[in-house]
Amino acid sequence: MLPLEYGRSEDRDIIVRDRFDGFRREFLRTLVNPEVIEEHRQSALGQHSERLERLLIYFRQRPLEQRYAVRAIEPFRRYQVVRLSGRRGVPPRLVDDAIYTSANDARHGLFLRCIRDLLET
């Protein structure tokens, strides 16, 4: 492995990765519909349809700095959605003021953010 923070200015692999990512996102946008969002709301951690699983697999593979996590303000009571820094030692940052009362609700809030990112960029 190379250092966690090495200069990537000469790393041509990033161009290939970004091109693949562009094609992938274009296809994934076609999978988003109300049914898939409702499916996730009902079962964030269950067995999923292929359509939903494809979206989730993509979200889990994003570069760390583009990924979200749930922050437990008070376990089993209050949660928020945060965005990872992807840089060792730098804490995640809050993305909005929404408070969720269960981890599953927060996971769904996180999922909606990922969907929004996918559709808007």
Partner: protein
Amino acid sequence: MTPVRLFGYTDKISVKPGETIQFHVSAEGTDTAEAQLVRLVHGDQNPAGPGFIEEEVACTANGRWRVEPQFTQVGSFLEVDDPQGRLAFANSFTLFAFIHPTWPASGKRQTIIGRWDGDRKQGYGIGIDEKGHLQFWIGRGEEIERLTANVSLQVQMWYFVAATFDAETRRATLHQVGVGNRYNGLLGKVALVDYESRKSAIFRSKPGNLASTPFIMAGSRSRDAQQRACVSELYWGKIDRCGTFDQALQPAELDTIRSGLVPAMDSLVAYWDTSAGYTDRGIGDLVVDVGRHKLNARGYNRPVRGQTGWNWEGFTDCFRLAPQEFGGIEFHADALTDCNWKATKAVALPHGLKSGCYAMRLRSGRGKSLSEEHVVFFVRPGRPRARIAFLFPTLTYLAFANERLSFDHPEREALTGQSAVLSDIDIEMYMRDDFGLSTYDMHADGNGVCYSSYHRPVMNMRPKYRMPSLDVASGLAADLSIIAWLDQSGFEYEVLTDEDLHRDGSEALSPYACVISGARPEYYTERMLDATEDYIAAGGRYVYAGGNGFNATAGIRDGEPWIMECRRRDDGYKPWVSRYGEHYMATDGMRGGPWKVLGRATQKLVGIGLSSSGGGRSEPYRRMPDSYHRTVSWITKGVDGEIIGDAGLANDGAAGLALDYYDRALGTPPHTKIIASSGGHTDSYVVNQQLVLYSYLGLYGSYDWRVHADMTYFTAPNGGAVFACGSVAFAQSLPINNFRNGASRVLANVVEAFAGAGRLPGFAWVNEEKQWA
């Protein structure tokens, strides 16, 4: 105002009643803490269970403790014992070393070797500047004179480097020559890279020499904000053989050293043969000077030894076979194996203390600013009396100690199939760099962390801790569900730790009729594995109360049980992988990686082994036909219906997180019975990659039958037996419905039978035609 924070650790984690244990505490924002000894009963705060339970215990140490902030020296390095100052060169000298930088362009200065005090600007050193260029420098207290190479160092490539200084002419030279071969570095011969630099300059002065400056490899003397001596300018990478002369060598002489020879010259002051002193059973922390002054160097924060060296030819893959090719010592500026804090309190434990898991609970502050710390340790019995022992898998706690997978590991979320749920302590630990990393993490230079220690605060060895990547109680917090179950069941039991098992072997287990494992007893030394096998074969009765057990090799050096070693191979689950040639543990010479590859699959020991793992929804078990067999029907007595464990604190089922299965091809004893099996796991569960030869679509829960857990039972020689629960999540199903549930019933049946005197139930049914109830 500084927020109140308390952190602590103990000098040992396994003690007997009446023994003295030292607590090392560091405090921020306060100078006092209220201490209270507590016995930990249950940890997981999941409202579906009993919640957090601790019992306060009388102890003379309870009360107000004075606490203070303590300094932690992070980073691995070697310090030379040079009481006569032979390395305080007042005139000409030469420094040389073989080096393999792993993060040359770190943006920070690094000292490779030298006798340098950066604050006082006194001494000399050879190192790497902020931009990744080799540099030689000297100082006399006011200015620093530097000579810098004109090509940058390549990451993960071997170099011979040397610096000379002629006191008469003031001429300084700096040599950098690549010594890469086909095997020993990142790049091959085909890469068009300039490795070589030779520079010289005339310095205006000679180096100064403070008596207090130590000669250090991989760092140099500095002072922290409180003016305490420390080591900074830490180096990332490997150093192989290195040394010093008290004259300026000529280029031809340096070429001789570069070829692997060291001239037998009177001017040789020190020659550290980094490959000297190896044994087949391990390498210590002392690096030997084979020159006439014996200026040996002592490792700090355990530099990684036995690594491939500059002259490694790739034919042998282990330091035991050709030690002279494995002289690499690897250093990391973020390594930590001992905080070395002053002892805050030495506590004589009460003589009558019940065996169990304990903590010194420390509190300071009030209301929302209350800081609470549980400094955990385990009390084994003074003399074993109970028939049951619970074995805390402390080696596995160590492997995971302070892991930060959810923040740093790009594949973790894909592996668990769920987003991380981070608590405040996770975020705080991620921001701190003074409590070290786990063997699941990588050093910042991208290399895996192979040492973990409990001589530092281990914030995930705390009773309420939840593992963020799975959002479940994990490690100690999960195992306390078994302790709470034992407590409410009324069984008399005592506790042991992996440390005791490694030290005492099967004698640690033999006083007990029944031994119960933790939920994830994953990391085992050879001695621990042998002891467990011998215990069962000699008639011991073993409850494997979890999953993913006995899976990974680990090493512990005698006399230093607080540090565990872990090397990772390319044939198993792994958060990182050791480089080829570096799979063998410096601790004991054993090969790292999964035990399965070494011919000791978990199935051979306890009947089942890892089939798959994942996150998200857990599943129940269903009784299998064998469970009705008269030899074993007693195990499920009192279970209502077919389903076992349809609820739990770990994702609502007894089969989850990591699943183990029966496999005759991997050594499951032939007469093993499958009592129950799980199924219906989601596609987040993926077949253990050790079981497949290729990666392909369909190795997931709803596609591959191997994604399941088996609950099994077999009898062993001399009246012994093994009951295996089959899943990490099993333990967390025990507390459901106030411990009244099918999983709890099954375990109670087994433990009652195992702990009982005499033969096991079902022994009389020997004729096959009468086996079925």
